[in-house]
């Protein structure tokens, strides 16, 4: 039988020539090339040389995905709005370039709330990544630039969270975002979502105020016809608070909006 044979030839040959009895052979110290790398350990084995430099598996591939989480029309008592919110990333398991962009075309037809970020993303724990980079507010209002640092990931109990702090010569700002997927069925998913923005100083030109400035929240019911393509309907609420609300009032803009929403969530 096979084992008899293996034992009889291969093994015996191997043992006879190389093993001193007990099999307690010391590995032969392969000298590290004489030079600066002075004995890490005297018997540091020679590094493995892969034939033609071929790696047997490609475990550091670069992956790229983009998620358009919100791409939606909103209808309320005072007319329609359009909003999008998406992110894209490009990189390895540990290091990624991350892009985020969101914005709203309001009832007045103007592009507002335009927030665009380019971040370096580093995986730091099981579920969380640290992100650092820049944020640019570019829309119909005056342009502002910020430095950004934050975390994004999956909190326990499957809450998706993002918390980011922003800094500029105008002060600091913060953003908290969270969402949660409630599986009504495996394809019909109810998602509460919230985004809150805080500022340390008001910026009248952009209509933001000190403290909690605005909230955008929604409850969306999507159908994952395909993982990568899910139409949804929902309600969304956006509101401004404190100083920001006063600014809105003074401009005769609405302080809060409750809208019927429909759109698609897609990624690729």
């Amino acid at each position: 039988m096979i084992r008899g044979l293996i034992g009889g030839t291969v093994l015996a040959a191997g043992l006879a020539t190389t093993v001193p009895g007990t099999g307690r052979a010391q590995s032969v110290p392969a000298r590290q090339s004489e030079g600066t790398q002075e004995a890490q350990t005297a018997s540091a084995p020679a590094p493995v040389v892969y034939i033609n430099g071929i790696q047997p598996v490609m475990d550091h591939n670069i992956y790229m995905h983009a998620l358009l989480d919100q791409f939606e029309a909103r209808f309320g008592a005072d007319g329609g709005q359009f909003r999008y919110d998406g992110q894209a990333w490009f990189g390895t398991d540990y290091d990624k370039l991350w892009l985020k962009s969101e914005g709203t075309v309001g009832t007045n037809g103007k592009f507002g709330d335009g927030d665009h970020e380019a971040l370096y993303d580093r995986a730091i724990s099981r579920y969380f990544d640290v992100q650092t980079g820049v944020r640019l507010d570019i829309d119909n209002g005056p342009t502002r630039a910020w430095g950004a640092i934050g975390v994004e990931g999956l909190a326990l109990y499957f809450f998706n969270v993002e918390a980011t702090a922003y800094f500029s010569d105008r002060g600091a700002a913060g953003r908290l975002q969270g969402s949660y997927d409630i599986l009504l069925t495996n394809r019909l998913i109810l998602q509460p979502q919230v985004e809150m923005n805080f500022y340390s100083a008001s910026d009248r030109a952009r209509g933001v105020g000190t403290g909690l400035s605005d909230i955008d929240t929604g409850l969306r019911l999507r159908y994952e016809w395909h993982r990568k393509f899910a139409p949804y309907i929902g309600v969304s609420y956006s509101g401004t608070f404190g100083q920001a609300a006063d600014m809105a009032r003074s401009r005769h803009e609405r302080v809060q909006d409750l809208n019927f929403t429909f759109g698609i969530r897609t990624w690729f």
């Binding site: 039988m1 044979l5 093993v19 109990y157 993982r227």
Partner: protein
């Protein structure tokens, strides 16, 4: 993105029932020999009349048009077919294989389970430079062994796209078990989706192919059944780990069509027999990502070989076969049949199906799939603390496994643990003989980017049939049942132990050993001739079929000196097991999980024997 991956659940019905007329749709290759003759009859997977016998072979790797699901696709095959032709060799011969690559990318063929010199093993980078497009590489090696094995590409995802085939080595001194007929049963998982897309999708959303998650509906049903409090506690328990008990297989029947010998369930591969014959069925799991549970309702299967090596015959109703494993069974149908060969995927999202019949065209009833398993806290490496785990533990007490050979390293011996203690977590933890070792490793290995969890109390699960197979009323093969017919060739005790944790982060779809991917880790170094014990601790909640190239892995399963020799060992979630290896062949060897996507993202090590 593949459009075909858009079709979603509705497509399952189509896939399963529309005839997948591939190359072999009509070619059932009916054996036309007299049943009186004892010459075994092979029915090939490829539609060829016979496997390729001999010692010299010309094999051409190339693109093969197929239609498994109703869509015209291109597979990677050999000599115009997928599965690749069955190769039939004779123990003691030296074979020569001229493999020509007609693809426009590099290729390779690895002879799975075959003891070869390292430069013949066929792993690009480790044993040779691969086969460039247009080139021919000649493999030549002597056959020391016999048994059922297989061959497949070790380049990229070519194994998923069709480059796999059976190989049989007939023993020089004849078979230990008499049989009249002989069929190769190659199980595989076909998808029209590009494998690169699959791995990329899993990186973005690890439950992409799982449409069996718990929902609001199952919450209320569970609450009704087991009480609201218990249900909430259970949900919180899993939620606190960000894990889901429905994580069974990463890639599911949502995109896979499961095949026997390249045939979809609708095409119904059929093997003929005459009542009263003894039929040897050589099951090979050549799938990329699927554990199969195999049974033939109405027939008892006598397992006579595991991974190419004879074992004491053991009659079973069912067995689980992990990717890359092989089992030979003998069945003796006395009635006319037909008998359905039913191989359901572990997650029960689909099945492969074939038929044993006395004439072509017959089909037996297809049994309903079993309930899908749910992972338990035992699978999470928490020992036998919860009810399901506790029951599995109870089964172990009455199992035939002999405790005497429990690994010296402290594999946990459940036989010596009474159930009262098992139900008292604190006490159980303290009494466990293996706790010292386990906790030592716990301090070394911490959760992090690449490590989602560390098993607190890994246990010996060799006598358990596996998730989804407990208490189903059938006699299911376990690893503890496998007893070699002869004792091992190397009686020396191991001179050292190599402990490896099987680790991963499901959420990020990162897999590795000891929290490291292949490219981040040092190779494992063995001295030529040395005898070592590998201890594997599975910290993940999935099975991993671990395959060591070039050397035998002798599973320490309580069978004394008659350890089963295996080339691939499937480690259950939360399990700790050990096996012995004699490093009797020098060279660079691959060591990896045989779930293809786990291997490709890093669950791979180089083993250096020098």
């Amino acid at each position: 993105m593949s459009i075909r991956s858009l079709t979603g659940r509705g497509a399952i019905t189509r896939r399963r029932f529309v005839i997948g007329t591939g190359l072999w749709g009509a070619a059932l290759a009916v054996p036309q020999r007299s049943a009186g003759a004892y010459a075994p009859v092979y029915t090939p997977a490829s539609g060829r009349p016979d496997p390729l016998p001999g010692t010299r072979f010309d094999l051409t790797v190339g693109s093969v048009p197929v239609n498994i699901t109703g869509a015209r696709m291109h597979a990677v095959g050999v000599n115009g077919s997928t599965p690749a032709p069955i190769l039939r060799w004779r123990q003691g011969d030296t074979v020569e294989l001229n493999v020509t690559n007609r693809l426009d990318e590099p290729s390779s063929i690895h002879w799975h389970g075959i003891r070869v010199p390292a430069d013949m093993d066929g792993v690009p980078g480790l044993s040779f430079g691969g086969i460039a497009p247009g080139d021919t590489f000649t493999y030549r090696f002597p056959l020391h062994q016999s048994g059922t094995y297989w061959y497949h590409s070790h380049s990229g995802f070519q194994e998923q796209t069709g480059l796999y085939g059976a190989l049989i080595i007939d023993p020089r001194d004849g078979y230990a078990q008499h049989f009249d007929r002989d069929y190769v049963m190659v199980l595989s998982d076909w998808t029209d989706v590009d494998p690169e897309d699959i791995v990329s999708n899993l990186k973005f959303q690890s439950d992409y192919y799982n449409f069996r998650q718990r929902t609001v509906d199952t919450f209320f049903r569970d609450a009704h059944r087991q009480g609201l409090g218990a249900t909430i506690r259970d949900r919180l328990q899993w939620g606190a780990m960000n894990m889901a008990p429905t994580d069974i297989l990463d890639v599911s029947g949502i995109i896979y069509t499961y095949l026997i010998n390249g045939q979809s369930p609708a095409a119904n591969w059929t093997g003929l027999f005459r009542p009263g014959e003894r039929i040897r069925l050589r099951f090979i799991n050549a799938s990329a990502m699927t554990l199969f549970d195999v049974r033939i309702p109405g027939l008892t299967m006598t397992v006579v070989q595991a991974d190419g090596n004879d074992v004491e015959p053991i009659p079973v109703d069912e067995f689980r076969i992990g990717p890359a494993e092989t089992y030979d069974v003998i069945v003796e149908p006395t009635a006319d049949g037909p008998y359905t060969v039913f191989a359901q995927a572990e997650d029960r999202t689909g099945y492969a199906r074939g038929t044993l019949a006395t004439r072509p065209g017959l089909a037996g009833p297809v049994p309903p799939m079993d309930p899908r398993p749910l992972r338990t806290m035992t699978d999470m490496g928490m020992g036998n603390m919860d009810m399901k785990g506790g029951m599995a533990g109870m089964e172990m007490g009455s199992s035939p496994g002999k405790p005497g050979e429990a690994p010296a390293s402290g594999g946990m011996d459940m036989d010596h643990m009474d159930m009262k203690e098992a139900n008292r977590p604190g006490a159980a933890a303290m009494d466990m003989p293996g706790m010292a070792a386990a906790s030592r490793h716990k301090t070394e290995l911490k959760p992090g980017v690449a490590v989602q969890s560390v098993a607190m109390m890994p246990i010996n699960r060799l006598a358990e049939p596996g998730d989804g197979l407990e208490n189903n009323g059938r006699r299911v093969l376990t690893y503890a049942d496998l007893q070699a017919t002869i004792s091992g060739a190397d009686p020396r005790p191991p001179s050292r132990e190599i402990t490896l944790h099987l680790t991963g982060n499901m959420e990020r779809f990162i897999w590795g050993f000891d929290g490291k991917k292949f490219s981040e880790a040092e190779p494992i170094r063995l001295t030529l001739g040395e005898r070592v014990r590998f201890v594997l601790i599975n910290d993940t909640m999935m099975e991993h079929p671990i395959h060591l190239h070039g050397l035998w892995s002798e599973l320490e399963n309580g069978q004394g000196e008659c350890r089963p020799y295996k080339h691939t060992i499937t480690v259950k979630p939360g399990e700790r097991l050990s096996y012995l290896v004699t490093a009797d062949e020098p060279g660079l060897w691959a060591y990896h999980c045989h779930l293809l996507y786990h291997m490709e993202v890093g669950m791979f090590r180089t083993v250096v024997v020098s």
